[in-house]
């Protein structure tokens, strides 16, 4: 049973517009959340993270929002650029466990 769920497997967006990726989790013990980005034929690379004591974390064009009561987080990319075309994985863990649970990923295509 997947503890981290990413629905809407693919997203197409015009360059310059906002991309929003959603992630839901079921384990209430999760208190640290991460997003990884993956290009074809490469391994995932860390993008941004958020601790459960925050509800927002921003890094340049990337912002992650966390709603603990809804067990939901989202990644906003604004403005989207063609180089953002990739698969994005949501991951979660708790501080007492160094093991990450990953979602199945969302494909993002940014159209120039």
């Amino acid at each position: 049973d997947q503890q981290v769920k990413q629905n809407s497997p693919s997203l197409s967006v015009q360059e310059g517009r906002i991309s929003i990726l959603n992630c839901d989790y079921t384990n209430s013990m999760f208190d640290y959340f991460l997003w990884y980005k993956k290009y074809p034929a490469e391994g995932p690379t860390f993008l941004i993270s958020i601790s459960s004591i925050k509800d927002k974390n921003e890094d340049g064009r990337f912002t992650v929002f966390l709603n603990k009561s809804a067990k939901h987080l989202s990644l906003h990319i604004v403005p989207s650029q063609p180089g953002d075309s990739a698969v994005y994985f949501c991951a979660a863990s708790d501080y007492g466990n160094n093991r990450l649970a990953f979602g199945k990923g969302n494909q993002v295509v940014v159209i120039p």
Binding site: Y32, A41, E42, T45, Y95, N97, L100, A101, G103
Partner: protein, 114 residues
Amino acid sequence: NAGVTQTPKFRVLKTGQSMTLLCAQDMNHEYMYWYRQDPGMGLRLIHYSVGEGTTAKGEVPDGYNVSRLKKQNFLLGLESAAPSQTSVYFCASSLSGTVQETQYFGPGTRLLVL
């Protein structure tokens, strides 16, 4: 500084054959991980290591063995490959085991078991 490298990049095996996947990191990281990624699923942890000479089971360890004889290398072995082990395998490493510590991934090994 190559980061995390994986050998081979692609391999085809017949059912019952054995093979070893090699992961190497040059960042002096203590922790190393093996994941597999299957279509429609996220990465799942197979085994991990918290330091040289130590290994532990992850979420899906059955059918795999691992060894960490040197700090920089983490080997994943398949003793008798099965079609269900067709997957893309990713190795990762991190400086420590805390969740805030970034895991750095290799480029992956694509394995096809016929």
